[in-house]
């Protein structure tokens, strides 16, 4: 009798459980892609809008969950040798490309060695230690490395390193291959049609290797150039998902109050954007680290977040973002007060001998502003005021994008520049480029424009890149952050939070650390 009751109990529990977790199949998911992507070639461009579409079609070896932990995708498992120089991926069996051809280890070797390492913007950095990929059989790929490269395992997502079909690219000019506009992947959705200026349409992959997935039959990415039209489309339920501030913050704050719309900041930790000020550390008024420290001390970071970015953001507390906390690399540092400390900033300047003149002005300078929209102008206006209070009198300069890029990264004709950087999932991928002496690359955008050069730091960065032991790596990056908190060639302002606005009908769309740059494989409509 007791046994029977137990079974009944268990059975009803299962039923109950099933009814809660049942995902409905079918339906069309319309989402915003802003702006229209230049191509679908995610293997040669990291352009944001490509990332919104291509990872639905292509897959990577890994994905990462919201805690940053590895989820195996095309790789069913992986092992790293003790010396860190051999990484073996056991690939999934029975995976087929959308055109019916089988997916094999040859595809992986070709993608990494012939495509990503050669043509991808960040690929040469992510895979720089890979010398050879052995393929003893069709479902094993063995990466041979020159030195250990722990950061490589953070760069294997569908967005960062998509695996592409060898049989479509071999022997063609990879930069202009047809695949760029007609992607063929292994992912949950197949490419169907791209109506320029209107939409891109994807269809469910019925032979997807994860049985029962995806739930959604059809995915449509719409291109809507006008911001208020995008907001209206979200408001009346025409589109269900809008990422990367396609719906502006000010509207998102308003829409959030509605019952059928949710707003989340999840899904951006792998991108890890940080707003910051770059200084010309080589010449001009900011060559002295004391004045750079004073600026970091004076700024009320929370004020900027609350009043310019509508509460979305987190004050920076170090050269590294707090998103590096799970990997143990982040350490909290002095000189980054969240609320600003005018008195301390003045004291710093006084003790460095930078005295005010009769008008209370210590230094005059021009602040360049990243020309990506109104928010950064407001930020510039704020900085002008607050730094005026400590005697740094600024003039603002706002130019068009090419002129600005040329000024900062080619001519070095600036002293102070408001900007933001992606720190990416590992400091080697996103942070080293800002500080290393080898990253003073005239003409290359978004690298070390401060021309800050410190042999001690270079040494630490080099050893941090190859250190496989997590604890030792933590120690190395702690020292890195200490040096940067003291020298401040770049003042980090705040960790930016991009917004995804979505209709509550849509569920399961935010299950990956890549967020909008991941697939919709587990998404469903309720």
């Amino acid at each position: 009798m007791f046994k029977q009751i137990k079974y009944i109990f268990l059975f009803s529990f299962m039923l109950f459980g099933f009814s809660i977790y049942a995902q409905k199949s079918g339906g069309t998911l319309v989402y915003l892609v802003q702006p229209e992507p230049p191509s679908m070639a995610s293997y040669i461009s990291t352009s944001g809008p490509i990332g919104l579409v291509a990872p639905k079609i292509y897959e990577g070896l890994f994905d990462y969950d919201n805690d940053g932990q590895i989820v195996h995708v095309l790789a069913a498992g992986h092992t790293v040798s003790n010396d860190g120089k051999t990484v073996t991926f056991n690939l999934r069996k029975g995976v087929k490309w959308h055109d019916g051809k089988p997916f094999t280890s040859d595809d992986v070797a070709f993608t990494v060695m012939n495509v990503l390492k050669k043509f991808h913007p960040r690929g040469p950095n992510s895979f720089r230690e890979v010398t050879r990929i052995d393929t003893p059989d069709s479902h094993t790929a063995i990466f041979k490395l020159r030195k250990p490269a722990p950061y490589m395992l953070r760069a294997l997502s569908a967005y960062e390193s998509p695996i592409v079909p060898k049989h479509h690219l071999e022997g063609t000019d990879i930069k202009s291959a047809k695949l760029g506009n007609k992607p063929v992947g292994t992912g949950p959705f197949k490419f169907v049609e791209w109506k320029k200026g209107q939409y891109v349409r994807l269809e469910k992959n019925k032979n997807y290797w994860r049985k029962g997935l995806p739930y959604i039959d059809r995915v449509v990415g719409r291109f809507v150039p006008d911001a208020s039209t995008r907001t209206a489309a979200m408001e009346n339920g025409e589109v269900l998902y809008a990422a990367y501030n396609a719906v502006p913050n000010i509207d998102a704050v308003r829409l959030k109050k509605r019952e059928d719309i949710s707003v989340t900041t999840d899904g951006y930790s792998m991108i890890n954007p940080v707003a910051l000020i770059e200084f010309n550390a080589k010449e001009g008024p900011f060559a002295n680290p004391a004045i750079r420290r004073a600026i970091s001390l004076a700024i009320d970071r929370q004020f900027m977040i609350d009043n310019i970015f509508f509460g979305y953001g987190k004050p920076a507390t170090s050269a590294l973002s707090t998103n590096f906390k799970p990997t143990g690399l982040y350490a909290s540092m002095p000189n980054y007060p969240a609320r600003g400390d005018i008195a301390a900033a003045k004291a710093e300047l006084d003790s460095a001998g930078i005295k005010p003149d009769v008008n209370g002005v210590r230094v005059r300078a021009i602040l360049d502003l990243i020309p990506y929209g109104e928010d950064y102008r407001r930020a510039g206006e704020y900085l002008k005021q607050v730094l005026g209070d400590i005697g740094i009198k600024l003039e603002l300069r706002y130019e068009d994008v090419p002129t600005w890029l040329k000024r900062i990264y080619h001519n070095y004709d600036f002293v102070m520049n408001l900007n933001y950087f992606y720190q990416l999932p590992d400091p080697v991928l996103g942070v080293h480029r800002h500080y290393g002496t080898d990253q003073i690359r005239k003409g290359t955008h978004f690298v070390n424009s401060s021309r800050y050069s410190n042999p001690e730091l270079d040494q630490l960065l080099a050893s941090g890149a190859i250190e496989a032991n997590a604890q030792k790596r933590t120690q190395i990056y702690k020292k890195v952050q200490e040096i940067l908190a003291r020298d401040m060639p770049v003042v980090n302002l705040f960790e930016m939070q991009f917004l995804t606005v979505y209709n509550t009908k849509l569920k399961g769309a935010n299950n990956s650390a890549l967020g909008p740059y991941s697939s919709f494989s587990e998404a469903y409509l309720d």
């Binding site: 502006p248 000010i250 308003r254 609350d306 009043n307 310019i308 109104e374 102008r377 407001r378 510039g380 206006e381 704020y382 002008k384 005021q385 607050v386 005026g388 003039e395 603002l396 300069r397 706002y398 130019e399 068009d400």
Partner: protein, 277 residues
């Protein structure tokens, strides 16, 4: 002069316009006295509703005083309007006078140049000029001048064409006066009244162009103006209406007042025209 004022004051709306204009000029003059602080200063709690936290007309997203911005913005608008108009009238008179007086090939050449400027839509042209030069108060004045002078040139040329055949000009010729003296001392004073009218209207247009440029983000980022205030507040129109609304009203009233004054001047200078109506 009594007769002029008498004719001007017959138009009641022109008198009202003049009164408002004087108020705006007065506001611009005392801006530094009533709001001695920098209008960009973060004066208090951001997004304050008008009348709260010591803000007469509220504060914007950064906590800047909207009222202080309007007072200091009046200075900018007046300055840009006057400077650009004076420059445009000066260039327009030179082009128009030479073309109208000499005629022939000089007229053809100068008028073709004028037409080149006239065929380009003026606001688009102003945007282009400011974008090429870097946005600053000088480049804005230059841009407005460049798009405004052709109208003056056309007008002055027409006046010169009709006046140069009159008896008093022929009399000057027979007296042996030099061309420049005839142009400056004799013809120009006689065609000044329409120039003053068009000039007064140009001040209004200049203020509008400046506001439009600032609204599009092409204003001088270091100088407070009404267009800048509207541009900065437009994104939060639905949550903080006062940031855009008050500078918008300021532009509306000022431009309206200048137009009324311009019309009044027109009536006063051409009394017969009015009686015909």
């Amino acid at each position: 002069m009594h007769g002029f004022w008498g004719r001007f004051s017959k138009n009641k709306s022109a008198v009202l316009g003049l009164f408002i204009l004087c108020l705006v000029i007065f506001l611009a003059a005392i801006a530094n006295w009533i709001y001695p602080d920098d209008p960009f200063r973060l004066a208090g709690k951001p997004m304050s509703i008008p009348g709260t936290n010591g803000f007469l007309l509220g504060s914007d997203t950064l906590g800047r005083d909207v009222a202080s911005g309007i007072a200091h913005g009046a200075k900018t608008s007046m300055l840009i309007g006057l400077l650009a108009t004076v420059a445009a009238v000066f260039i327009g008179i030179i082009f128009g006078a030479l073309a109208g007086y000499y005629g022939g090939i000089i007229d053809d050449a100068l008028m073709r140049i004028t037409e080149i400027f006239q065929t380009i839509p003026s606001f688009v042209f102003a945007i282009l000029l400011v974008a090429i030069m870097k946005p600053s108060i000088e480049s804005i004045v230059i841009a407005i001048t460049v798009v405004s002078w052709p109208a003056v040139a056309r007008l002055v040329r027409g006046e010169f064409l009709s006046l140069k055949t009159r008896e008093f000009v022929q009399a000057c010729h027979t007296l042996g006066m030099s061309d420049s003296r005839i142009m400056i001392r004799e013809i120009l004073p006689n065609c000044l009244s329409p120039v003053i009218v068009i000039g007064s209207l140009m001040v209004a247009t200049a203020i509008l162009i400046e506001s439009g440029l600032a609204f599009l983000g092409l204003g001088d980022p270091n100088i407070m103006s009404w267009g800048f205030q509207i541009g900065a507040g437009r994104t939060m129109l639905r949550s903080a209406w006062w940031v855009c609304t008050f500078p918008g009203i300021a532009i509306l009233i000022t431009v309206l007042a200048i137009n009324l004054v311009g019309e009044g001047l027109n009536d006063a200078f051409n009394p017969r025209l009015r009686e015909r109506n």
